[in-house]
């Protein structure tokens, strides 16, 4: 048992979620996120993938009336991050997020990446320069932008903006990174870049990625979870899910008979 728990970075335990209109978007979800692994979330539109992902960094707190029930336990702290006594800002300092649509800030490339550090009170120019460079390299963007770090981020292409958002999320050395369909707005080449990047990042952190792209889930992830109507239908090794799923619903979805 002990060996298993040390490998788990976070786990949902009987997680329910209710939007402010009373809709129950998650129904009793329990599943682990293994450390230094990529876990993919798949399922038809509206099944609750984003809702589940956004529980991890308490994004739902931004809108009044949303309600969590159950636990998301983060290790090694062994703390339920959904507990009312937990500060969501502290959670977000350790669990970062990349959104579906690139959402850079109206600032320079440099300031976008430095944002998380500034928010944390870092002001040392040397440290900041190093961190920004490291994060941009980590996001495979450095060579393209190193000569125009002080240009407005909006001038980058969509794929570059998304990698900038990854760099921004990386700069603060998060332990977990959440990706919500990070490549759905990108062309195949930019998509391949980001997939490659996720695989590289795996050695440093734990990744949870929502995707609509079956091939993407199969290519990058170690574990896959299939959700349907707010429920977790099946969770297993990615190989197993894609070659020999345990549930008929999963197989139908993967083979395109459904959804």
């Amino acid at each position: 048992m002990a060996t298993v728990t040390t490998a788990i970075k976070a786990e949902a335990r009987d997680l329910n979620f209710f939007y402010s209109n009373g809709a129950r978007a998650l129904k009793g979800i329990s599943m682990p996120l293994y450390e230094n692994k990529i876990t993919a979330l798949i399922g038809p539109s509206g099944c609750g993938k984003s809702t589940f992902l956004r529980c991890f960094n308490r994004m739902h707190d931004l809108y009044p009336g949303n309600k969590y029930q159950g636990q998301i336990v983060m290790h090694p702290d062994n703390t339920n991050v959904l507990d009312a006594g937990v500060d969501p800002i502290e959670v977000r300092m350790r669990i970062s997020m990349v959104f579906q649509k690139p959402n850079p800030f109206p600032k320079s490339i440099y300031e976008n990446v430095a944002y998380g550090l500034r928010v944390r009170g870092e002001n040392n120019k040397r440290i900041m320069d190093d961190k920004v460079e490291e994060a941009l390299k980590g996001a495979a963007l450095w060579s393209e932008v190193k000569d125009r770090l002080h240009d407005l981020a909006f001038n980058l292409s969509g794929g570059q903006q998304q990698r900038l958002c990854i760099a921004r999320a990386l700069a603060t050395d998060p332990e977990i990174m959440l990706f919500d369909e990070p490549t759905s707005a990108l062309d195949p080449i930019a998509t391949a870049n980001i997939e490659e990047l996720m695989v590289e990042l795996r050695s440093k952190l734990t990744i949870l990625v929502v995707t609509h792209n079956m091939q993407q889930a199969a290519r990058v992830s170690d574990y896959t979870a299939y959700m349907y109507l707010g429920e977790l239908i099946e969770y297993d090794d990615t190989d197993k899910i894609f070659t020999n799923p345990g549930r008929k619903e999963t197989e139908d979805y993967i083979t395109g008979k459904f959804g």
């Binding site: 800002i89 502290e90 977000r92 649509k101 959402n103 800030f105 109206p106 600032k107 944390r120």
Partner: protein, 308 residues
């Protein structure tokens, strides 16, 4: 080469005359309406220019801009516009010094901090302030704010630019607050989420992300406020004094361009007299000032145009 096939227009695809005529009529009516607005503007500018031209036949442009006195109605007349310009700029500057910080902070509060209910309560009240007749603000400056200021600084004259400027500032707060708030609320939620997801607080998000994202709208609000301040008449006419005075000292009394114009326009000067013409020259300067602020504003807006 093939011989060209003779084509006909089938009645089902032919031009529909009735629809076309109707469309044309609507177009014409719309154009006329637009024309009225444009024509009025041109007419105003035309009259201003025409009457000013007669004015500048008597008074040289150099004298107009360099003489330090403005006494067109006196026996020994002087025609230097600068005392009126200084009064206009000083009162406007005070108004902006009051309205820009308060209006911006109010906008940030309303857009980023206030709950839905609070916002829906405060905004109508703010907008009510816009509906208060300016003459009321004028007397508020004269009979409330100035005495209050005099209790701090007894030498302050009853007519002074400080009191008038402050009240004018209060008057334009709603413009800045309401327009800036609209600009900030137009910033997409995804940008705020990006900031929160980085571990930013509400305040950090408001200051570091939302405000810069809304900057072009906020600047537009400032420009509108400047135009309002420069063109404002009642408050300054009532509370700042009617004596042209070349000074930028807010503790003194002075007249603004607008105050001079109402003062003269309400008197009974004969048409064609130099005093009558002088208000058009003053009006022209006022328009040039407002216009240049608008052009600057337009330019700044373009430079910082937000693109989400």
């Amino acid at each position: 080469m093939q011989a060209p096939v003779q084509l006909t227009i089938s009645p089902r695809l032919a031009k529909n005359i009735r629809r076309n005529v109707k469309e044309r009529m609507i177009e014409l009516i719309l154009m006329l309406a637009a024309l009225v607005a444009v024509a009025t503007t041109f007419a105003i500018v035309g009259v201003l220019l025409y009457e000013s031209l007669s004015f500048f036949k008597t008074v040289s442009v150099v004298e107009f801009f360099t003489d330090t006195q403005w006494t067109p109605l006196f026996e020994e007349a002087h025609y230097g516009i600068m005392p009126l310009v200084s009064g206009t700029l000083t009162t406007s500057a005070i108004a902006l010094a009051v309205a820009v910080p308060i209006g911006t902070i109010a906008a940030i509060f309303l857009s980023e901090f206030a709950s839905h209910k609070t916002r829906e309560t405060i905004k109508p009240i703010l907008e009510l302030l816009v509906g208060v007749p300016t003459v009321v603000f004028g007397y508020f400056a004269l009979f409330f704010v100035t005495p209050l200021l005099q209790s701090i600084y007894p030498e302050l004259p009853s007519f002074n630019m400080l009191g008038a400027g402050i009240v004018m500032g209060i008057m334009i707060i709603p413009y800045i607050a309401s327009m800036s708030e609209d600009a900030m609320r137009a910033v997409p939620m995804s940008m705020r989420e990006g900031s929160y997801a980085m571990g930013a607080t509400r305040f950090q998000t408001a200051i570091k992300v939302v405000t810069p994202a809304a900057v072009s709208g906020i600047v537009a609000a400032y420009i509108l406020a400047i135009s309002r301040a420069v063109g404002e008449t009642m408050v300054v006419a009532i509370a700042a004094g009617q004596q042209p005075n070349l000074t930028f000292n807010p503790l003194e009394s002075a007249a603004t361009i607008t105050a001079y114009i109402v003062q003269v326009a309400m008197g009974d000067l004969p048409h064609g007299s130099i005093g009558y013409q002088s208000i058009f020259a003053a009006g022209l300067v006022l328009m040039a000032m407002t216009l240049s602020f608008n052009i600057i504003g337009h330019w700044v807006r373009k430079k910082y145009r937000e693109s989400y």
